[in-house]
Symmetry: C2
Subunit: 345 residues, 2 copies
């Protein structure tokens, strides 16, 4: 998995995860190999179902393989229970292909909690990483801000937040090409003294580190895009992320209620809605190539349950970038440095 | 301040707080006494400035008084510094009128942190309340949900959250007339086991209490309005509140950028924007009568810095309801009960 070793990488794709599995997954795999020479795909899941779906397409059969897995973890299953009860799931099987070297990266649009837990369980952690983290993109007034952590770790220590900032910075730098990414710490006021105990202590560490730390950011700053990264514990990050996703749904409901109030309103909404959709297309989670789980000893990318074929392609491309950048080697080295620094602080 | 004692109550109004002070404050006071017989107003601040503003109106001069205060706490001052350095501020002076019994309630559209700190400092806490809490209304798909705490307490213990739930329930019941208000606990999953240590422990307490606790709610549920109250620590609540307020501002920016892309876009935005404004009028913070600081030994209501005269009227009416309901006596009694319960749990 080191930088530039292979011409063609192999991605194991959980064909049974996601709300539209395996339709989106198979279509995404086809699109990927058609347009991207450097990626082969191994579809992991029930062979008969996947091959039935594959029959709809013509494609280079040397570049898409099926690896059978009989169990399917459902979207609403308890992650830890599901992994324990279904060791033969497409999720766990797909991750094992990374462990054995049969694949270079794993992507899934399945049960987020289960992908996180199974990735950690199967791949293990990068040396010296205390807690892996999952980041999510927020569309902002000025582009994208990534928030780490959005749910992998609900109870955090200051060192965890510092490590999230390191891993997020490596990601922003080597995947998005952002030089010296700006790091903000999510809190309740700009001043250093503002925040809960965790945040105030994490501020101390971040301030003294070699990261490009610009201080606290508030809830109102997330959408302003003043920093490339926002660091917080996974409890806060998860709540903000889910809240943000729900705002669009509320807007839709409000539009519908308004339209239902009469013919004139219906006309007005008809005109306004198209405009709103145009305006809000940056908020379309389909566009995104999933969110990375950083800190595990392998590449694991988690997509939205409603991932379209295009989203699957974007996840595959994202995984390819992570593999070719040798991102985990860089994380390992930076985490080693930051732990030495933190031990001295 | 007990229930139904007086025909007319007196509200001390910080005439120098808020972005439009004293214009909004004076106009709000005039509107209040014109339309609401049971409320007299004492405007607190610089006498000359206030009386100049009052001259613009004709009103019953027996019902609006001025109480001089020479200092003004600015919106961006550090709360604790400001209170210490300006003991003669309109804020502290107005609160003292409640302490001495010259007023029954205090309202201010000034520096939120300073109003909180000065209220706690001047009025003290209701017996057995460990931490006062500030709640905020969130417009939802089905009406209003109140979130406690939104910033008074960043580091919380499970008992604090339980007390917030008790005070919030009393408020929802006696001010909004909601029988047996539904209480949700903000977390990262519905199951009892989901959440950080604080949330999981608070769940235990809430579950066994006599409150109408319906379990965990997630970030995505806030806007759904599935519960009347949502309980969380003030760190999380503050971040979500400020994030929510910023979403409208982002929408405006996006609309503007879109319109700037050409004449057709400009026309489309022109049509869409009016509709959107109609649809989002529930999100208009001007409508709200401020947010209550519960648990202090008096009535203190904090308004948005941009409060309009109408918002000031609504704050006065809200304060009147709190006084006439004898809300603090009820809170005192319920908190005593819940502490006995928690001690046994």
């Amino acid at each position: 998995m080191s930088k530039g070793v292979k011409d063609t990488i192999t991605i194991s794709l959980d064909a049974m995860g996601g709300d539209n599995a395996p339709v989106s997954e198979v279509a995404g795999a086809i699109e990927t190999v058609r347009h991207h020479e450097g990626i082969n795909i191994t579809l992991v899941g029930k062979t008969d179902i996947i091959s039935n779906e594959l029959k709809k397409f013509s494609y280079d059969t040397t570049r898409i393989k099926i690896h059978n897995a009989d169990d399917v973890i459902e979207m609403d299953e308890s992650p830890t229970d599901a992994i324990r009860k279904k060791p033969g799931s497409s999720l766990v099987t797909g991750l094992k292909l990374c462990k054995t070297g049969e694949a270079d990266a794993f992507i899934s649009a399945g049960n987020t909690g289960a992908v996180m837990a199974a990735s950690l369980f199967t791949l293990g952690r990068i040396a010296n990483v205390n807690r892996p983290t999952i980041g999510s993109r927020f569309p902002t007034e000025r582009g994208i801000t990534m928030v780490f952590d959005v749910g992998a770790n609900v109870d955090c220590k200051p060192l965890n937040l510092l490590q999230f900032a390191v891993m997020g910075s490596v990601y922003a730098n080597h995947i998005y090409g952002i030089e010296n990414p700006k790091v903000g710490l999510l809190s309740v006021g700009e001043e250093k003294s503002k925040g809960d105990t965790l945040t105030v202590e994490a501020y101390e560490l971040l301030e003294k580190s070699n990261l490009n730390f610009i201080g606290n950011v508030e809830g109102r700053d997330i959408m302003k895009g003043t920093t490339d990264l926002i660091i917080c514990d996974g409890f806060t990050g998860n709540i903000v992320l889910k809240f943000a996703e729900s705002v669009l749904s509320l807007l839709k409901t409000k539009f519908k209620d308004y339209a239902d109030k009469g013919f004139v309103n219906k006309l007005k909404v008809g005109m306004a809605y198209g405009t709103l959709k145009d305006i809000l297309k940056d908020f379309d989670y389909q566009e995104y190539g999933g969110v990375p789980l950083l800190g595990v000893n392998g590449i694991s990318i988690i997509g939205h349950g409603r991932s379209s074929p295009r989203a699957i392609v974007n996840m595959a491309l994202n995984a390819e970038r992570m593999v070719r950048a040798g991102i985990n080697d860089i994380i390992a080295s930076k985490i080693k440095d930051i732990n030495l620094f933190a031990a001295k602080t």
